[in-house]
């Protein structure tokens, strides 16, 4: 920066990017979300090559590079494989902190689902804890049709 410019008042242009966007869910996520909304059932897809069950379901297996054509329902209960407790109200967080975020491997699945744990003391959250999904009918066909997970014994 030239020293002449040190006399110049720093100027700033404040703006915002706000663009409406529509993401089509596709057949695979569409079926998952519809089943969540209509039946409160969590579905996964199975890779017939490596036998892994993906939840949330994926159309293709990232390991085998083959199409997952088999659908299977998994349990609404599972195990926390990792978690964090958000303490600062970061801008992306919709709820009031503290919020427990977790990767949950549902019984019958081989991958973990990202979600929140509520109705629990954040200081009790730990890897290996058992949790169960709670459903919300008002969320429609979105990932929030699972409103959150709660601890179970």
């Amino acid at each position: 920066m030239s020293s002449l410019l040190k006399q110049v008042e720093p100027m700033v242009y404040s703006s915002q990017i706000s663009v409406p966007y529509t993401w089509w869910a596709g057949d695979t996520a569409g079926r998952f979300l519809k089943t969540l909304r209509d039946e409160q059932t969590i579905m996964g897809t199975r890779c017939e090559s490596c036998n892994r069950v993906f939840v949330p379901p994926r159309k293709t297996c990232p390991a085998c590079f083959t199409e997952n054509e088999t659908w299977t329902a998994v349990s609404d209960e599972g195990t926390v494989v990792s978690f964090t407790v958000a303490r600062r109200q970061l801008a992306a967080i919709a709820q009031k902190v503290p919020v427990i975020y977790a990767l949950i491997r549902l019984d019958g699945a081989d991958t973990a689902l990202l979600h929140t744990i509520a109705q629990a003391d954040p200081d009790d959250a730990k890897i290996g804890m058992r949790v169960r999904a709670c459903f919300s009918k008002k969320a429609g066909a979105t990932i929030n049709a699972i409103s959150h997970f709660v601890p179970i014994d």
Partner: protein
Amino acid sequence: MDSAAIVGVGMTAIEKNKIRDGFADMAWEAVNLALADAGMSIDDIDNVVTTSNDFWDGRTISCMAVSDASGAREKNVSCVEGDGTFGAFYGLTRILSGSYGTTLVTAHSKGSESVSSLITNAAFDPIYERAIGMDMVSACAMQANAYMHRTGTTAEQLARVSVKNHGNAMHNPKAQLPMEITVADVLASEMICDPLHKLDCSPVSDGCCAIIIAGKDRVSDTAKPPVWIKGTAFCADAYHLGDRDLSRAPALTRATKKAFDMAGITDPVTQIHVAELYDAFTYQELMWLEAMGLCADGKAGPLLETGAFDIDGRLPVNASGGLLSGHPVIAAGLIRMAEVVRQLRGETGGVQVKNPTVGVAHGVNGLCGQSHCVWVLSSEF
């Protein structure tokens, strides 16, 4: 062309908020520093690769906005979206193809101009994940917990990374956060997302870095001795966090093995003299060290406590102060490369490692280290 070297590096100071510099201003400064460092003029540059991210920059085709300031007019200019190490990889391949003798690579971002939590939230899948409300910090906190749970690494050991790197930055005039702090200071700082305190996290930063890569037949007339690229590779893991074992970084292990094989590194513990790793969070420095085979699995924390990764230790890691002391995303990995180059030339003053001839630099792209790019650089051909 089968060999190439880095012949010039330039970077702006890393700052919290560069209120007087736009993207092109930062590129202009870094590019001219790199040209001066190489003893070249813009006419010596055969092609340009700029590295940026549209969402961070708040503009479509962000890379082209810095092309004028990068001297790209009437040249072949191409863009990489991601960390600067990936831009450098592309720049290198353009030389190895035989089409170009020199490549100027730039990488920039200004974290100060947007809201990092919202930008990184958008890295999550919009159908399955984004509405959950996570961002880079909460995702990496989850990875930190997984890593600590598996290896037994402690909060005190994480804090020690912060103490070391902020302390190193005291001798780096371009660092944003030089600080003399203690483990107790780190543990007493605000808990952002368990287990990451404020001082376990890198700051939001502005900055730009530029490097010049030249093929073997174009290094003879440069100002300083070339730093040779002995090996480089990158590798990606699965996109969805739940598909991975977050406590491990197999993509980094694979990328490192490829780069080390290429460079003839068979015993990294003795053959690598200096390392600049992507320490966006304290735990990452330890986790990456283990994944790269620079120490045994689960042993980085205990080794750190013995001083093994200090500037006068067995393997100095982030002698520059690392990203914990200033983290302009996108530029971050390219800065790691530039810092290794400066170490190998003996130019780093108060953070100079004693007579290093081989160094490793590392860049990351994606949530929780989804993809990694590893470079082995040497002052010897």
